[in-house]
């Protein structure tokens, strides 16, 4: 045990003294780990937002053949007719105004909802109060990620898409759409969006069904109800709606995942090549250690120890920074008024750090074996 500790100590000492090399390798591993963790979080966020699950109860009613909040307009009076349909538990008319309909990392989405509906939803606030929001006609409850992105606090004003609101609360939610929106009074948003036109128009209805097994059936009954009306509807489960609206973002996320995986593999290749070169460069040092009596296992332990150290430090640093950046920056992909946010799952960061540690060991496995098996006389003569 003492001997193994001694070799690990030698590896630590050597890594500490070769500061530039160690820092460069740790930084490379950290960047790769951060990239891998971020990609995994984005991927998880995309799956969360777009995969229909058993137990889903949310439907989104949109104007048929419309895919942008600017184009989807439905009479607000539909809410009563939808609410009367069998299987419908709740209906919330929502007016949506976005600062940008295209794919972007910083879209401000205003969601106008009736006050009573908002109170009924009992939203969680990390700051501010619903009472303040109720009393301010131009008040907004801003989702946590939007607030982080824009540096908003209670009392700040938010201006986008020609609309200016005052922040009355910071909203917490499990739903990425809410975490990336500014909730305003429906009437306020209708008035500002109409710009002199008529009110009473909403973008969509958020419908909750009483029985998840009846989700598709209720969706069909809503569309059947308005098929021959002035504004026919297209109703989908919320996840399917998000997947359709943000299909470009989903495709982009998939593409970036592939690039990310490629980058991770390339970084691993670079790490392995660097470790091979470093070990080759240190052939004489290892020959001296062998002459002093270090065994094959002892030499391997030293090389693997340095790889493990680089992997562990880089992994912890990379996973930690990815978590910090993703949690503080409030990044979210948005398109057509829907947002897809990365999901920060502790197991992803733990796995990324563990993978970096394993990569450090794996990248040094071949150099460790080579260094331990080299012929001592050849090494002392200057061969590698």
């Amino acid at each position: 045990m003492n001997a193994i500790l001694s070799r690990i100590r030698y590896a630590l000492r050597s890594a500490r003294r070769q500061r530039m090399r160690t820092v460069a390798l740790v930084a490379g591993v950290a960047l790769t780990t951060a990239l891998a963790a971020a990609i995994a979080c984005i991927d998880l966020g995309v799956r969360d937002a777009t995969t229909t699950r058993a137990g889903e109860t949310k439907l989104v009613v949109y104007r048929e053949n419309r895919f942008c909040p600017f184009a989807s307009s439905l009479p607000q009076r539909y809410d009563r007719q939808i609410g009367e349909l069998p299987g419908v538990a709740a209906v919330v008319p929502v007016k949506i105004v976005v600062s940008n309909c295209r794919a972007s990392l910083d879209v401000v989405t205003f969601r106008g909802v009736p006050e009573d509906d908002l109170r009924a939803m009992s939203p969680r606030l990390s700051a501010g109060s619903i009472d303040a929001w109720v009393t301010h006609g131009n008040g907004a409850l801003v989702g946590r990620e939007l607030a982080a992105r824009r540096g908003l606090r209670v009392g700040s004003s938010l201006s986008a898409a020609g609309i200016e609101v005052v922040v009355d609360g910071i909203l917490e939610s499990d739903d990425a759409q809410w975490r990336n929106s500014a909730l305003t009074h429906l009437s306020f948003l209708q008035e500002r969006a109409a710009r002199g036109g008529t009110g009473g128009i909403v973008t969509q209805f958020d419908v909750t069904v009483s029985d998840p097994s009846r989700l598709e059936e209720v969706a069909r009954s809503i569309d059947d109800r308005f098929r021959s009306d002035e504004s026919p509807t297209a109703t989908r489960p919320q996840t399917a709606f998000v997947a359709r609206a943000a299909r470009d973002v989903v495709a982009l996320a998939g593409f970036s995942s592939m690039i990310g995986i490629g980058a991770v593999l390339a970084a691993f290749g670079l790490l392995a090549t660097t470790m091979i070169n470093v070990t080759r460069h240190r052939a004489r040092e290892f020959a001296v250690l062998r002459t002093l009596g270090f065994t094959d296992g002892g030499i391997s332990t030293i090389v693997l120890g340095e790889g493990a150290l680089v992997g562990a430090l880089g992994g912890l640093l990379g996973a930690g920074s990815a978590w910090l950046i993703l949690s503080k920056a409030g990044l979210a992909f948005a398109m057509e008024g829907v947002s897809i946010a990365p999901r920060l799952d502790g197991s992803i960061f733990a796995l990324a750090a563990a993978a970096a540690f394993a990569a450090g060991l794996l990248a040094t496995a071949v150099p460790a074996w080579t260094a331990s098996r080299a012929q001592l006389v050849d090494l002392l003569r200057g061969g590698s």
């Binding site: 000492r13 003294r17 250690l289 002093l292 270090f294 002892g298």
Partner: protein
């Protein structure tokens, strides 16, 4: 019984498809506590013999016993462990680990021994004092002169109190003053501690410092001179 016994020792290398007999049925005995210089022209087999004595190379045939151990019977790892306990090796080009301080270089071989930190520290300090480098503990090799580097290398070779101190042209890269200092150190180790030393050299003046000079030619023993 001699400390080292070579009987009909052969070492062949393949070079360009031809076998080169570097050591050719060499018979040699070296006594415990003796101080031997190995001399001979280039290619005579001096360094090869030293490497065989150190267990860092293997004989092609013949017998080599060091302190009663037949080195041919040990595998790579057994040989490494044996070296860590019985051999101190001094290279011509010092071969200190460049990123470690003088203290850490000397401490290196002790990492293989089951010693307490205090005991390890005591031995390193003692070894550095014995080579007059007590004030250079924290210096990296690049901060030392050639002579000082070689003295650190000697301290590293001695710190485990080896049965056998082997040196491959230890003064080959030093000026006369530093070479004399290293030779004085070897002489003192031999006289005061009874250290067995086998040293390869090309320099007649250096060889005269030893008790005995063994001359090799074409891998065979040419003659043995005993200093008066």
């Amino acid at each position: 019984m001699s400390l080292i016994e070579c009987r009909s020792l052969c070492k062949d290398y393949q070079r360009g498809g031809e076998a080169v007999h570097v050591l050719d049925h060499l018979d040699l005995a070296i006594e415990r506590g003796s101080y031997t210089a190995l001399m001979g022209p280039s290619g005579s087999g001096k360094t090869t013999l030293l490497n065989l004595l150190a267990g860092i190379d293997r004989a092609t045939s013949g017998h080599l016993l060091v302190d009663g151990t037949d080195l041919a019977q040990l595998d790579r790892n057994q040989l490494a462990l044996w070296r860590s306990r019985h051999v101190g090796y001094v290279f011509q080009l010092y071969n200190l680990v460049p990123v470690l301080s003088a203290y850490e270089n000397v401490e290196l071989p002790l990492l293989l021994h089951d010693l307490t930190t205090a005991e390890r520290h005591r031995r390193v300090v003692e070894a550095l004092e014995s080579v007059d480098l007590a004030t250079r503990h924290g210096h990296l090799p690049r901060q030392l002169s050639g002579g000082q580097e070689q003295r650190v290398a000697i301290a590293r070779a001695l710190v485990t109190q080896p049965t056998l101190l082997l040196a491959d042209e230890p003064t080959g890269d030093l000026d006369r003053t530093n070479a004399d200092a290293v030779m004085d150190l070897f002489g003192r180790l031999h006289r005061e501690r009874g250290q067995t030393i086998v040293m390869v050299t090309h320099d007649e003046a250096i060889a005269r410092r030893a008790e005995r000079t063994v001359r090799l030619e074409k891998g065979r023993l040419a003659n043995v001179e005993v200093a008066r």
